[in-house]
């Protein structure tokens, strides 16, 4: 992404920096590895300069300058490590610590607390403040179903106030009273309602004043490992960081991507970590006449291959594959090749519920989009659409109801969960003699309708890519292997294909993406390593399949 602003040259601590005009000195210092401490500055909020932690000395200026509010100028000589600047920052930290409660053992922010980090950097371990003179404020203020406020811990950086005013528009948090009793809160400590982005204030609060009720006391953050990933609850594809331990995800935290979600994510996506791990299917399931029972992969895939082969021999158009806009690009690519090259059936489609027509439409004014599936754009780019004489999803469901489909292969449970006419879908599927589903969660009606359930991995447990509504290809990294015997569909389809006499490429997500990018012109020129943590735009606009 090129920056059209003219570059400015300056020196920070003797190191030469070139930054676009309009950048503040704090950001310019980051470019040369000088980490200026700051509380009130946040990259995606307005500049405030109230915390006074980022003070630096600039040659020729009589006083120290807050580097977060000062734009870079040509030829500036910035001295971050000058003794008076260091002393000023240390004193400012001491001021903030004077009334800060000794809450580290009970505070959730321990381990990711800016006050702790700067305290360790700056020293000052012998406090000159008698403990009984500290100002006390209300602790454990319940601000609704997401946030717990501790007024004593607040360092008055105003990040939450500015967020609620500038980003979410709710102005839910304000300053009250003055002087040493200044505190953050809501009017009359009322719970915060109606703000669907309030979870972000927990991330931006540098101390433990605003903490997440959902995450409260669950785990100490230094025990958690982090993996980068992408939220899969809508087509915006906010970049997230998955914090997990021992195969359990504890929270999603947004990852900054200036082009997609800045530093934010919506509460709906934030909550989704729980649903992704519940009611997991741990092994492939086989219907033995009465109910679904656990089985081995070999038994399940052998049965699927046998029944599919039998149906194809009788009538090639009696086998249908429904791909999924919730699966990765690699899985959908293999599904399209499985249907068209291995099974040679024209019935393959991804448009399960009409959401592909709403992919780019916004649900609210900030981030969330109307399309609840993360990869409609990827499926469109891959052309997972019916072949000549083939039926789309609506046609496939009609054919199922008419009894013309003998084997139905579903790459996800979306036809059962994402549609409004679930009753019609259930009736149609009941008439299909053999239904194979890749599912990672038990959903209603699945056990009544599926004859074979292939235990799938969710997006946190597999490596792959998704394309968001802007046409940006973003990587999913694998945090941990799927539970039990579950395997991602991209690993299962090649085994199924080989049983049917075909061949599909095998490998991890990175290898499959590179192969796919070479084979598909829509992804031409992209590589897994080239995508990087922030993703890349598709080289051409995503073809619209509305009405085709």
């Amino acid at each position: 992404m090129s920056d059209s602003r003219p570059p400015v040259n300056l020196t920070i601590d003797g190191r030469a920096v070139q930054a676009p005009a309009g950048t503040n000195i704090l950001e310019a210092a980051k470019l040369v590895g000088v980490r200026v401490p700051h509380f009130c500055y946040q990259q995606d909020l307005s500049w405030e300069g109230s915390c006074r932690m980022c003070l630096v000395a600039i040659e020729g200026r009589p006083k120290l300058v807050p580097s977060c509010c000062e734009e870079v100028r040509e030829g500036q000589v910035v001295l971050f490590s000058r003794p008076d600047a260091e002393e000023a920052r240390r004193s400012q930290l001491e001021f903030l610590l004077i009334n800060h409660p000794l809450d580290c053992p009970i505070c959730d922010q321990a381990g990711e607390c800016k006050l702790q980090d700067y305290y360790m950097e700056h020293g000052g371990y012998a406090s000159k403040m008698p403990r009984d003179l500290k100002v006390h404020k209300r602790k454990v203020v319940d601000l609704g179903e997401r946030i717990v406020l501790d007024k004593e811990r607040c360092v008055l950086c105003s990040r939450c106030v500015r967020f609620c005013r500038e980003v979410s528009g709710s102005s839910a948090l304000q300053f009250f009273t003055r002087g040493v009793t200044t505190e953050i809160g809501t009017e009359n400590n009322q719970p915060i309602e109606g703000d669907e982005y309030i979870g972000n204030v927990v991330d931006i609060c540098p101390v433990g004043a605003l903490t997440s009720k959902d995450f409260r006391f669950k785990q100490r953050v230094w025990f958690l490992k982090s993996s980068p990933s992408v939220c899969t609850q809508c087509s915006t594809g906010c970049n997230i960081r998955v914090d997990h331990k021992d195969g359990v995800v504890y929270r999603y935290v947004p990852r900054r991507n200036a082009d997609v979600n800045k530093s934010w994510m919506c509460d709906y996506g934030r909550d989704s970590y729980r649903g992704e791990q519940e009611d997991r299917i741990l092994a492939p399931l086989l219907h033995d006449g009465r109910s679904l029972k656990d089985t081995t992969w070999d038994a399940a895939l052998d049965l699927v291959a046998d029944r599919t082969r039998a149906a194809l021999q009788a009538d090639p158009a009696s086998v249908a594959v429904i791909a999924s806009p919730r699966q990765t690009n690699e899985t959908n690519w293999l599904a399209r090749r499985y249907a068209k090259d291995v099974l040679k059936t024209p019935h393959v489609d991804y448009r399960v519920d009409g959401s592909h027509e709403r992919t780019t439409l916004m649900h609210d004014a900030i981030l969330r989009r109307q399309d609840p599936h993360p990869n409609n754009s990827g499926c469109a780019a891959l052309g997972v659409i019916p072949g000549a004489g083939g039926a789309d999803v609506e046609g496939i469901l009609s054919a199922c109801a008419a009894g013309r489909i003998k084997v139905l292969h579903l790459l996800g449970t979306d036809v059962l969960t994402a549609r409004h006419d679930t009753a019609r879908v259930v009736d149609a599927l009941k008439k299909v003699p053999f239904v194979v589903v890749h599912a990672y969660r038990d959903v209603p009606m699945l056990t009544d309708l599926a004859h074979v359930v292939l235990a799938d991995a969710n997006h946190v447990e597999q490596e792959g890519t998704l394309v968001n509504a802007q046409g940006r290809v973003q990587r999913l990294e694998r945090a941990f292997p799927p539970p039990g015997f579950a395997r991602p569909a991209a690993a299962v389809l090649p085994e199924l294909a080989s049983r049917l006499g075909g061949a599909l490429p095998q490998g991890d997500g990175a290898k499959l993406f590179d192969l796919m990018a070479q084979a598909e012109p829509a992804f031409g020129g992209l590589t897994w390593s080239g995508l990087g943590p922030k993703g890349q735009l598709l080289p051409h606009a995503v073809p619209s399949t509305v009405g085709s």
Binding site: P105, V140, R220
Partner: protein, 212 residues
Amino acid sequence: MSDTTSSVAYTPIPRPKSRIPLRPEALAPIAPPPPKAGTVPKGAPGSERPSFLLTAMGLVVTIKNFLRSASSRKNDPTIQYPEERRQYSPRFRGIHQLTKRQDGTLKCVACFMCSTACPAECITIEAGEHPNQKYEKYPVRFDIDMLRCVMCGLCVDACPEEAIIMTQDYEMSATTREQTVYPIALLADRAQLTSTPAGYRPRYEPGATLVR
């Protein structure tokens, strides 16, 4: 994977004959053949040969100590356990104890310092919300797996609340594996379970009262 209990004898891997001749040193065996059982190799020093006199000379210290211990009770270092017990130093590190505040609640606030500091990773804690806002956090679950514990006392050093100390208790025999994981019930009321005094406690000021 090859079957390790195979009855087929091991046959050396056939290697093609090389056209490069081996050096004469390579043809000689690397080590001399082991000596026959009950003999010493040729050229061994005289002290390696079995000798009753040398054996007796080696046992002199042992026999001296044995005779001293057997001479009288006073010289015998053995104590008659369990009737007699050893006295240990006041900083002896025995079984852990969770201490209490004056009002009877556990001092522990589930900060996980002990769990993090433990080199054996034997402390498992789950935190919960305390109904009293002044205390705010308390351990819902606090298990120490005594079979993993190495009694190092790093948990006591790490605790910021003086909530965990070690007693001078060391008797922890059990008949099942489940009995060796000590939950809060076994750790918190240790003063009632034993009569030994408190052991490893770093902040022992004279006159300080420790509610056990």
